[in-house]
């Protein structure tokens, strides 16, 4: 319970600074160095990590494969309210990055706070295709590291959210291929 309260407080503080516009530049990427003593998957986290790895691989493949000429320009019906493929990918990366923080241990959160590396904003600006691929990879790595380092079953809701959210947006991206008469990588033989 204490953990949940602390998490909520951290989230409120972080969101507060985001709303106030205090954070002008995008936060640094989370520390992706392997843990000093890497933890082994538990019976509970193993299927979670496997599923996240699965969606991660598919998402990264799309991030690398989606055509350059459509990457940050194509929107269904040209609707400005609908995300481009790049925006979807960066949205997934932003949410994952945030979840990677939320699902970390208190000690890791404190360290990130102290280092000024809390991912305050879930919005990541588009720079390039290569940068998008890197951001997607980093974000999934951050989530996996958080789960491995903090395999507390109380975080199950958060782990499931990452799976559900990433899967939904992967479904969007596959249809973007189809709407352009293309076969998505996962359906190629």
């Amino acid at each position: 319970m204490t953990k949940r309260i602390l998490f909520s407080l951290l989230a409120v503080v972080a969101l507060g600074s985001e709303i106030a516009g205090a954070q002008k530049s995008p936060p640094s990427a989370p520390d992706l160095k392997p843990a000093a003593s890497p933890s082994l998957p538990s019976p509970l986290t193993e299927p979670i990590l496997e599923r996240i790895k699965n969606i991660e691989e598919k998402m990264v493949t799309v991030a690398e494969d989606f055509p350059d000429d459509l990457y940050a320009t194509y929107r269904p019906k040209g609707n400005e309210d609908v995300r481009t493929a790049a925006e979807i990918l960066l949205h997934v990366a932003g949410v994952n990055r945030r979840m990677g923080f939320n699902l970390s241990t208190k000690r890791q959160k404190d360290a990130l706070f102290a280092a000024g590396r809390v991912p305050n904003s879930m919005t990541i600006a588009y720079v390039s295709k290569q940068d998008t691929v890197a951001k997607v990879k980093e974000s999934f790595a951050a989530v996996r590291k958080a789960i491995q380092d903090n395999p507390d079953p109380e975080n199950l809701e958060g782990w499931l959210y990452v799976i559900a959210h990433s899967s939904e947006h992967f479904g969007n991206l596959l249809t973007y291929y189809r709407e352009n008469g293309l076969v998505p990588p996962t359906s190629r033989h």
């Binding site: 299927p47 019906k77 395999p151 507390d152 079953p153 499931l160 899967s167 939904e168 189809r178 709407e179």
Partner: protein
């Protein structure tokens, strides 16, 4: 409550916490395994069922709302290799029923078959009508939730997760079908 009782209570808590901290440091894996074995089945299934209920509601909303004239005719670029909205929904229903079969224990599954509530993939996947599709989708999510409730064995976590990932994946397809037809999906309406 007297001050003495409060102090005694605090002392008990402090001693108990001290003994907890004094234990040998466990690896995250050991801690997780012990924690997993200690937490109740309902603690584990509650967030899973919540997530399934969430995607169930969003999927049923689309099954009921997707325009009749596009329901089983619209395919991106008219490609016959790509599913219509109805076919996606029936595919989700069929996969949910399959997953429910795998989540149940063998005696539970046998009892279900003996009671005559056996389903065939072909029957589920055959498009009949929009109301029939809605019924099949609803029944499939109910089957999954009931299977988890009746057999909350964490060893089945892989299949619980599969339902969440698979349904969300295809929900993402359906949302884009709306957008490609210049429509706003139910989940994005104010």
């Amino acid at each position: 409550m007297s001050n003495r009782s409060v102090l005694r209570g605090l002392l008990v808590i402090v001693v108990a916490m001290g003994s907890t901290f004094a234990r040998t440091q466990k690896s995250p894996r050991e801690t997780s395994e012990q924690h997993a074995s200690m937490i109740s089945a309902s603690d584990l299934t509650k967030p899973v069922l919540k997530e399934i209920q969430d995607i169930e509601e969003r999927t049923v909303a689309i099954a009921e709302d997707f325009p009749d004239e596009l329901y089983n005719t619209y395919r991106p670029k008219g490609d016959p290799d790509v599913r219509t909205a109805a076919e996606i929904l029936l595919h989700i229903a069929e996969q949910n029923e399959s997953a429910a079969s795998l989540i149940r224990t063998k005696p539970q599954q046998d009892a279900l078959i003996a009671s005559g509530r056996k389903w065939a993939a072909k029957d589920i996947l055959t498009y009949v009508s929009k109301p029939d599709t809605v019924t099949k989708i609803k029944a499939s999510f109910v089957a999954v939730r009931r299977a988890i409730e009746e057999n909350p064995d964490p060893k089945k976590l892989e299949w619980w997760i599969y339902v969440i990932a698979h349904s969300n994946d295809h929900f993402g397809n359906l949302v884009t079908y709306y957008r490609e037809n210049g429509l706003v999906p139910p989940s994005s309406r104010q």
